[in-house]
Subunit: 364 residues, 2 copies
DNA sequence: CTGAAAGCGCTTACAG
DNA sequence: CTGAAAGCGCTTACAG
């Protein structure tokens, strides 16, 4: 089966009628529609997207830009594939397809996006990994391509975004640690210009301030946002002259590297150092002792992103009258054992289970 | 800037000449070309892809289908993002763009692919997660869409694929373990119909046979190919009446869950049970004791996939005369500490470093 | 309810 | 070397 013309000839009707039948237009005889649908199904006809797009001026495709730099990939930890399901469940209602657009690591993200946008491959974009100043916002605004950003940016202009509640995370983490008596609380921060690093650090600083604790720049450990960065962060903590009694991590995977480096030095998270992680990545769930961290539903975030994006597209706005913009997405604390260390007594508050390899419960 | 017409009017020449200049056709005055290129750059003109595709009958887009079922996602562990870089480096030479097409988890992968193919969104496909019988092969062959599969399948017909060397992995793992005196060697296998499970299991069976060891079905542990599956696998190993002394894992992330469950029972990999893992996932690198496993370059695999795919596309075949099909991709053994256990003496061969939390090297 | 025709933005024989 | 024109496969006013 080639095109609509062949299908029309096969049915001995005009292509216009075939098109109308296929697209559910009301002014088609039901019997005709039935025949058309049956023939299309039988012959496996599906409209060529280029033809449709050219005529309609829209592609029915929405792009999710993914940075494939090593660091971004490490961080992602399936963040995007998780969000994807939620996005698709929204888009499916409107027969919109989602494609993930990986920016080659040797190409400038701005140039890549420019090319994709100019070629009109997609009707709208979802961008993430927002930088402190992110020129992509200006690019998309000028090109009048609807978009939504996963994350805020200092770049001027109003634009729709949804960001994680870094303020809430930092505040609750500090609150929890201070309640246990911690005063020297370190924090990790990304070494790049990614905006969330600034937001998180500023939130941490304010959380300390609210509790009358002076901000100490030496307790801000700048490392790559990766497992290896976590390893490095632990190393830097261990060599600090005045060591902190607690550390708050950014990025889900840092905890794994941090644990490893600490344990190499015989420092046990939750016993010798309180650790609070960020998002509970699937990988991190297997850490021992269990990590106190924050949880969110990637699926629900995907739905919110999808709805907010569509609410910003003229053709779909009507379906999402209540979906505005600029949501701060809450995360829920998942208490674990990693922050049980009490700096006052120098002891942990409770005995984490199954810590020692000698605590055998099955004879082998 | 809208279309080529506006650009042509601005330059006061015909759209045909603009098109030829932009597309590097030889029959264009160099001065004219220079002017066209400059104006396009200045006005930010890029050809509308739908127009091109419709006229040329090709989209210059290659799709990488991704299954977003929970299990597939868990397994992926950034496998695809790793391969993506290699693919893009090949495609970039031909101005081909790569898009990742995530199949919604509630949609049948076959139907999804059918829709994508029929809509002519891509010129060629890369498919993976091959099933024992995989109807997508037939679908793509019939539709005459060039494709390459990451993985073999029993489905009939010749088709290009590249698969990992499961035979080599199984054989070297068994060889290594047998050399250390193991006779009861368990293996994990996926509980699904994914073809690599069958290939791996058969390879393991033959590897045992070559060394005169009887195949024992009770030593085949069927679990989900995920961290949690690894956890379950360890559990099943622990309750076996006649316990194995070694286990070979499939899928990169299983090791993490397996380690956890073993340690909960005081069973130390490398000391009480020999463990050999599959691919050295970034996550698994942080395991203690270090995992003996197999390594490969995802980037190089991506390049090979890209070249082999293009060698199967009429328009690009000429550039890749030497790239055939059906490569079995080798993996390299990375010896670790996890298979140091000697079943004869019941002792490990060497003391894995930094195993005990009491082996402190830094005072805290 | 249906058909004939225009036209979306391109590329490419073809004529000059 | 350039321009005018055809046509890729659709959808959609428009006429009947």
């Amino acid at each position: 089966m080639k095109g609509i013309r062949q299908l029309a000839e096969h049915l001995d009707i005009s292509i216009g009628t075939v098109s109308r039948a296929l697209n559910g237009k009301p002014d088609v005889n039901e019997e005709t529609r039935r025949r058309v649908l049956a023939a299309a199904e039988e012959l496996g006809y599906v409209a060529n997207q280029s033809g449709r797009s050219l005529r309609q001026g829209e592609t029915k495709v929405i792009g999710l830009m993914i940075e494939s730099s090593t660091e971004a990939v490490e961080n992602a930890d399936n963040f995007f594939i998780g969000v994807t399901s939620g996005l698709q469940s929204v888009f499916a209602r409107h027969k919109l397809d989602l494609v993930m657009l990986p920016c080659p690591s040797d190409e400038d993200p701005h140039e890549y996006l420019k090319r994709i946008v100019a070629r009109r491959i997609v009707d709208a974009m979802i961008i993430s990994n927002m930088q402190r100043i992110d020129r992509r916002i200006d690019l998309l605004s000028r090109a009048k391509i609807p978009f939504i950003a996963v994350g805020r940016s200092l770049s001027p202009g109003n634009f729709p975004w949804i960001d994680l509640d870094f303020e809430g995370v930092a505040d609750r983490a500090v609150e929890r640690l201070v309640a246990r008596g911690h005063r020297r609380i370190a924090i990790t921060a990304p070494s790049s210009e990614v905006n969330l690093g600034y937001v998180f650090l500023e939130s941490y600083r304010r959380a300390l301030e609210r509790r009358g604790i002076a901000f100490d720049p030496s307790l801000v450990i700048r490392v790559k946002s990766s497992e290896h960065g976590g390893y490095q962060a632990a190393h830097e903590l261990l060599v600090l002259k005045e060591r902190p009694t607690a550390v708050i991590l950014i990025y889900e995977l840092m905890a794994i590297g941090l644990y490893r480096r600490l344990m190499e030095s015989g420092v046990m998270p939750g016993r010798d150092l309180a650790v609070i992680g960020f998002r509970d990545a699937p990988r991190a769930r297997f850490l021992q002792p269990s990590l106190s961290c924050f949880r969110m539903s990637l699926y629900d975030l995907g739905i919110a992103l999808g709805r907010t994006l569509l609410a910003n597209m003229p053709a779909y706005r009507q379906f999402y009258p209540d979906d505005g913009r600029n949501v701060v997405w809450p995360l829920e604390l998942v208490p674990g054992e990693s922050d049980a260390f009490d700096p006052g007594t120098g002891e942990k508050e409770f005995e984490p289970e199954r810590l020692s390899f000698d605590d055998r419960t099955v004879e082998f």
